[in-house]
């Protein structure tokens, strides 16, 4: 391969993104009203997950063409979870426009989420090689279950203020977001037909990036940075979500402060004052730092594991995603920039 030039990177990524867009746009229903809703559901977002599928495959020597069906299936699964998550969390806005349920109604959001996920399985199941179809459907179903389990745990744990097993909480953070990232990189690796240990390594890479992503989302919901994505500041507190941050604070605060926090949480957290007070306690407890440290460690490990791949534009693009794409629309760039550089150009 010729010497790589970083200046080629934007065009390289743009080409992949437009290939993904073209495939997504090719899905139609024989009903203009359904097409309109479908387009709304599928539009928007940075396409990080399908891009991860494509790049992971190409970084391991696979070809772009063979990845697109899988990439589209991953994006549809992601959009399905976006529709259902916004519905369940009653978030009205996403990325500056109305959430699907706010635009088309809750019933349609519930049904469209199921339509998206079943379309993903339909695409995979109709792959020419029935061996691939079966393998990828199995992979998707395992991830789909874990993601739904994380969501169920999330909803069922709201408002529980007792101390909980931190490992379980961390696992739920993985289930909520890490799963689909893991799916993306693992699928990419499998599409490249590499040996199982490499598949394992790529799966772990996605898992780390995705779970770090979730922890940073939790952090940004507290410090207000997430507002730029349309989610209301403190919405996790209002819903009394069991984030790692809250769980860590409950587990480590001195008894008196813990009782104070629990008392605050037991009230209906509606006034900006009470919310800010809780956020301040979480910050002071060191829980926020702990979450950020954990995220940073994973991102560093992810970058380390990337540096062992052969040099390629795909690898550079993957590194850029770990470093920058996560950072768009938030202040993560600083955080990632401040993590020690590792074997990367």
């Amino acid at each position: 391969m010729d010497k790589l030039s970083p200046s080629e990177l934007p065009a390289y990524v743009a080409e992949r993104l437009s290939a993904i867009e073209r495939r997504l746009a090719a899905i139609h229903f024989d009903d203009p009203q359904v097409d309109e809703m479908w387009a709304y559901a599928v539009a928007g977002g940075r396409r990080i997950r399908p891009l991860l599928v494509v790049l992971s495959c190409e970084a391991l020597g696979g070809a772009l063409d063979g990845t697109l069906t899988g990439a589209v299936a991953v994006e549809l699964s992601h959009k399905a979870s976006v529709l259902h998550d916004d519905l369940v969390d009653e978030d009205t806005y996403r990325r500056g426009r109305l959430a699907f349920h706010a635009q088309f109604g809750q019933d349609q959001a519930l049904l469209m989420g199921h339509l998206l996920i079943s379309t993903a399985f339909r695409l995979l199941a109709s792959l020419q090689s029935s061996y691939s179809a079966t393998t990828y459907c199995q992979l998707f179903s395992r991830i789909f279950f874990l993601a739904a389990r994380g969501q169920l745990w999330d909803v069922a744990s709201e408002g529980r203020d007792e101390i909980q097993d931190l490992d379980r909480v961390l696992e739920a953070e993985y289930e909520k977001t890490g799963t689909l990232f893991e799916l993306s990189t693992e699928l990419g690796a499998r599409l490249a037909c590499v040996e199982p240990p490499t598949v394992e390594r790529m799966a772990l890479l996605g898992r780390k990036i995705g779970t770090a992503f979730q922890l940073l989302n939790d952090t940004n919901n507290l410090n207000g940075l997430e507002e730029s994505t349309g989610r209301m500041r403190y919405s996790d507190l209002v819903r009394r979500k069991r984030t790692l941050i809250l769980s860590y604070a409950l587990a480590t605060l001195p008894a008196a402060e813990r009782s104070h926090l629990q008392a605050l949480l037991a009230e209906r957290l509606v006034t900006p004052d009470a919310l800010a007070q809780v956020a301040e306690i979480l910050e002071r407890s060191g829980a926020v730092d702990q979450a950020v440290r954990q995220a940073r460690t994973w991102l560093r490990e992810a970058r380390n594991s990337l540096s062992s791949l052969p040099d390629s534009l795909a690898r550079h693009a993957l590194a850029a995603i770990t470093r920058e794409t996560i950072a768009t629309a938030t202040d993560w760039s600083q955080l990632i920039a401040s993590s020690p550089a590792t074997g990367e150009p």
Partner: protein, 331 residues
Amino acid sequence: MLRLIYQAILGRVVEEINAGLLVDSFREPDLNRMYIQAVSGGRRSRALLVLAGCEAVGGRRRAAMPMALAMELAHKASLIVDDVVDRDLLRRGRPTFHARYGPRQAVVMSDILMSLAYQQLTKFDRSDESHVVAECYRLLSDTYHTMCLGEIQELLLDEGGMSEDNTLAVAHKKSGLMIENCLRAGGMLGRGQEAEIAALGEFGRSIGLAFQLINDLNSVKDIEGHTGRPVGNDLRIGRMNFLAAHALRRANAADRSRLGQLLAADELETTQVQESIELLHRSGAVRAAEEQIRALLEEARKSLGPLRLSIIKTLFLKVIDHAGDPWLWTS
């Protein structure tokens, strides 16, 4: 008669199905309880159809069990979704999932059940050829996909413009295709011949539509609690079914406009429900539905032709003979 068959022959099979469904998938006891609540109840008819399709072509039902459980879970997921969309608080006399746990939990549980449905298909024997397993994924995703599309379209449809055929097409998408695909999948997993699998599919298609029409008819008759729902429920919520579509096109002008008014109303009094039912009778809609059911059952009987003689075939013929049997429709 049907109750007897169900209890004598199918009772043990239902136990096997339950053993496959009622398992803990979570570490948290409260989540397991929630899941068990979501999959309990009903007669396991979707699972039974897959197993019946398998045995009808001479297969062993163990070969079809993962698909049977998958279809049953998908069916349960669709019931949770249906009940949310229809705002139904009771099903077969029990509180619906969202009535008990809330709509947010219902959304998530429907996802859990669908993911578990797909997960079932990882449980086929290694010896199963991958094209058979891939076909199961295809049938399952296709069935659920079509079902969702049918529901979405039903919510979008301009009700006044719906013909009887439209209502039958929607009914096929929403429930008929699943019955058809359950039988088809069973036939395929039982390694039946092409003609047998096709026969099972056609039988499923006709009997599925007939069941939908019988259901529509029951809802305007006085079969109390045929699904645990009040009489005239479709009319109450203004849902367009075959009967209403027929009446809106065929009744005289005065009746047509009155029925249109009643269906458009937000909430109907009991006397207004009675009035709507009378309008349906007078328009000939009830008679038309009965004729349509007879024709569909006849098609179902004919489609069984290529199927070899077996207990299952006898059972299918009995179901056709007794399709209106209140036992099928009461809780």
